[in-house]
């Protein structure tokens, strides 16, 4: 009896286009296996190094695959590798690298076992890469789950801290509701159009068979938008954000804040502008309303915060609102502006979060605002990055944040949403109230903090309580903060490289306005 091997047609796989994803998935497995060796050296040094190597390989392969204007459909059209997918995965890889460096001395990595921690991180990254490239409703959902499930666990990796466990649980429950809503929405879109692939959905909508205003389709769009809004922390589906950001180990918060948002917005762009682009007139105003609500709620919510992580969480809600404005207009300019802002957002937030990490490890005030008191005198190498990050988030000129906002408002006005540009501006004005407070605490000594101070907590001395010694004890955190703050300034003055990348990414989705 001959086995029917010969008859099976192996699917054609473009391994080149798939290679970055294979690097992270493979890296995840290798890291998990290697960490089974119980030597200190392997767990504390080799595992992070291997993780970093896997991410750097992925970055290298991404640059190799990068081909503006090219859309490579792989795995029977399940994934589309184009500049949008690659550009966003690039941001995700950088965020992953940052997370690896920031985790070097973190409690979370130690408590969760280094192997598991890093393997899950790589798993989540793979999920984001799948999500950013997904061009099929099923892959979209698979990507979202692959990114979420490791993150639920990572949030809870500081096993002995109640708030960390609470954050993990909260994220799990709310994230699952989001996933379920998304799944329902995707099912309805399939029901209305009879297609799974984005191309086919777009064709179905443009044909007369499915009207643009088809109620089934619109309900599906609404539910899908809700599900994605959970992931991107767009109001009113943002309630989990402050609690989870605060509770999760801070390196994970950093990763979550920048990478999840990038991946979520990538799929927002692809699903709405590519698959559902024709019904932009239907969902545009609704998303614009969501963006407005997000900007208002995020900025107002941040004003009263004392915890820096909560403050940054609310600020990230507000920033999601700005980003959404780029999606609303449904134009190439909007796409470019959104991706541009995602990159800028990464720079500013990584700088800010690394300062929070550096301070919370040594300060008995934890991540409270008062932990930054007089940082300008004691640790200028941390105070400057934080200052630059805050000014950039607020949109001051000579920082990348200014150019990013300029670009977004430009796109909004050009897309006939001038009022949304004004909303962005008004949101920025409100945001000054809390960003400037952080700056004032650092530089304007003797600043009276009006709210009751938090009880002091006990911290193990990292390096004998002196600020200089503390700074020396975690040079990698300071280095990350300085590096990303410097990039914020450099791209604020010479943004050309970012613009070039954004323009190349803009070629990914054709048929936009």
């Amino acid at each position: 009896m001959t086995l029917p091997f010969a008859e099976v047609q192996a699917p054609e796989i473009d391994y080149k286009a798939l290679s970055p994803l294979m690097a992270t998935v493979g890296g995840s497995i290798v890291v998990l296996m290697v960490a089974l060796l119980r030597s200190q050296f392997v767990r504390h040094t080799l595992v992070p190094v291997l993780t970093a190597v896997s991410l750097l390989t992925a970055i290298g392969l991404t640059i190799w695959v990068w081909e503006p204007g090219e859309q490579t459909a792989i795995l029977e059209g399940a994934l589309t590798v184009d500049t949008l997918a690659l550009g966003v995965s690039m941001l995700v890889y950088v965020a992953g690298l940052v997370c690896v460096v920031l985790s070097l001395r973190a409690l979370a990595a130690r408590e969760a076992g280094h192997g598991e921690y890093h393997a899950m991180l790589l798993g989540s990254i793979s999920g984001m890469v799948v999500l950013a490239a997904s061009s099929d409703l099923i892959t979209l959902f698979v990507g979202i789950e692959l990114l979420s499930i490791p993150l639920y666990v990572l949030c809870a990796t500081e096993l002995r801290r109640r708030t960390s466990l609470e954050a993990g649980l909260k994220y799990l429950v709310i994230g699952s509701v989001g996933s379920a809503t998304l799944l329902y929405g995707l099912a309805l879109i399939y029901g209305a159009t009879g297609a799974m692939q984005f191309d086919a959905i777009a064709d179905a909508i443009s044909s007369d068979a499915v009207g643009v205003g088809d109620p089934l389709l619109l309900t599906g769009i609404a539910l899908a938008a809700t599900g994605l809004a959970f992931k991107a922390s767009v109001a009113p589906f943002h309630q989990w954000t402050p609690d989870v950001y605060q509770g999760a180990p801070t390196p994970i918060t950093t990763f979550m804040a920048v990478a999840t948002k990038a991946a979520a917005f990538a799929v927002f762009l692809r699903l709405f502008e590519h698959a559902l682009g024709l019904s932009q007139l239907e969902w545009g105003p609704a998303l614009a309303a969501l963006a407005t609500a997000t900007i208002v709620i995020g900025n107002v919510g941040a004003i009263a915060q004392r915890s820096l992580k909560r403050l940054l969480a609310w600020s990230s809600v507000a920033q999601a609102g700005y980003l959404l404005a780029g999606v609303v207009v449904g134009s190439t300019l909007g796409l470019e502006a959104t991706v541009f802002y995602l990159a800028v957002y990464l720079l500013m937030n990584v700088a800010a979060f690394s300062v929070v990490i550096a301070r919370e490890r040594v300060s008995e005030r934890g991540d409270d605002l008062s932990a930054l008191e007089n940082l300008g005198q004691t640790q200028p190498w941390l105070a400057w990055p934080m200052t630059i990050a805050m000014l950039s988030l607020a949109g001051f000129p000579a920082t990348a944040g200014f150019i990013g906002k300029f670009y977004l408002i430009d796109a909004a006005v050009a897309g006939d949403y001038a009022w949304l540009g004004i909303v962005i501006v008004l949101g920025s004005v409100v945001s000054l109230a809390y960003y400037l407070r952080v700056v004032a605490v650092m530089w304007m000594g003797g600043y009276e903090v009006e709210l009751p101070t938090v009880p002091r907590r006990h911290v193990k001395p990292v390096a004998g309580w002196s600020p200089e010694a503390d700074a020396r004890a975690q040079p990698e955190v300071t280095a990350i903060a300085v590096l990303f703050a410097a990039a914020t300034i450099v791209f604020g003055i010479l943004p050309d490289p970012l613009f070039d990348a954004a323009r190349e990414i803009g070629t990914a989705l054709s048929g936009l306005r």
Partner: protein, 495 residues
Amino acid sequence: VTIHLSIILFLPLATGFIGAFLPRGLARWAVLAGTVAVLAYAILLLADFDSGGGLQYVTDDEWIPELGIRYQLGVDGLNLFMVVLTALAWVPCTLVAALRDRERPKLFFFHMALAETAVLGAFMAQDLALFIVFFDLMLVPFYFMIGGWGTGDRVRATTKFVIYTLAGSLLMLAGAIALGVLSTPEGGEISFSLAELQRRSVSEGTQQWIVLLFALAFFVKAPLFPLHGWVPETYRSTPIVTLALLGGVLSKVGVYGFLRIVLPVMPEGAQHWQELFVVMAVFSILYGSVLAFSQDNVRLVVAYSSIAQLGFIVLGIFAFDDKGAQGAVLQMLNHGLVVVPLFLIIGVIVARAGGSESLSELGGLAFRAPVLATLFLIVAFATLAMPGSANFVGELLVLFGSYEDKFVYGLVASAGVVLAAVYTIRVFQRTMHNRPGAAVASREIGRIDLAAVVPLVAVIVALGVYPNFVVDRTERATTASIEEARNVSQAVASR
């Protein structure tokens, strides 16, 4: 000589950076040397300037082509004296600052230097987006200087100052982007270059709301009633040298913006709001004058008198008349020239009164300090626009300009001239004469302060003798700036 505006622009910032890497004591001298060099360069510029020419020393490079933003600098009659004023004001203020010990001197002088670069940039920019970049950037050093080295409730004051001004300028940013996008012809490239924007046009309705956004930014900055909410707290808390720059130079950027951007680019929009802005200007003159008269804090007297003076300038601009605009441009320079020494002298006076800024606790200072009293008197006379001062010429031109078309408003504004005499003389009497206050020690002005104030006073006197020096150089550009708006206004009137 070839003059490169980029050198003037970035020289202060460069010395600020150099200072940051020098030992503690040397930073101030590096920055001071930078301001002196800028002043020397500005004087060269003034000597070389061709009064018959248009925009000169133009630097025009690509900056962010994707957004249509160009690095475009230039000097013409409108901003020539603003650049000179900035260069001139920074030297004495840095000098006085350099001789007081303060905490973290490097950082303070870095901010001083950054502030000069930002203000010069706002005055020289010929691209709308570049203008806004510098306009907003100005806030950063002032935010830190007030919050870090101010007195009293300084953090609250500086936060309020930044939120007020940035609210205005962010709205202006939205307006500017809208202007750039909406004026782009079909298939054309977006551009923010002022010359290009002037050639393109947007509909009258669009101009109206965009002008309103711009006016909001400029009036907050000026400040003009009723957008002056940040003034009392900020003026009370700001370090005196910073305040001299804030009141003397920064306040001019806003009104300058009307002449440079609003009137030439959006004449129809400007014409639409003319009546409202003139009313606001007249109201500011009266309100500022009355409040200046009733203040006890010396700084606040100057603060409110500035509101009145800026009201005059806005009145001159929105009279849409050659004489009025000329008067406004002259007053922009004059007001800066008197406010800077005024605050420096106030700093000297306050130091002699044990730190008290209250008029009721000052007095009798002239007794042993004739030189101080004389200098103060000259500056005070210039402030109240005594005949023989350039301020007199400026205010007269503004009033003549407004009589042409807005006679009633001009008449009401004239009351401001009288009130100015009242509140200025009141301050002079209460500080210099009267019964000496309890803590007052009448001492002569120190050498350094003298060196800082005397050159400014000399310039005030010289301009009083020969105001045509300014008028000759600015006339052409000023007339050109309001020409469009005047034509629109006349067309509307004859309709």
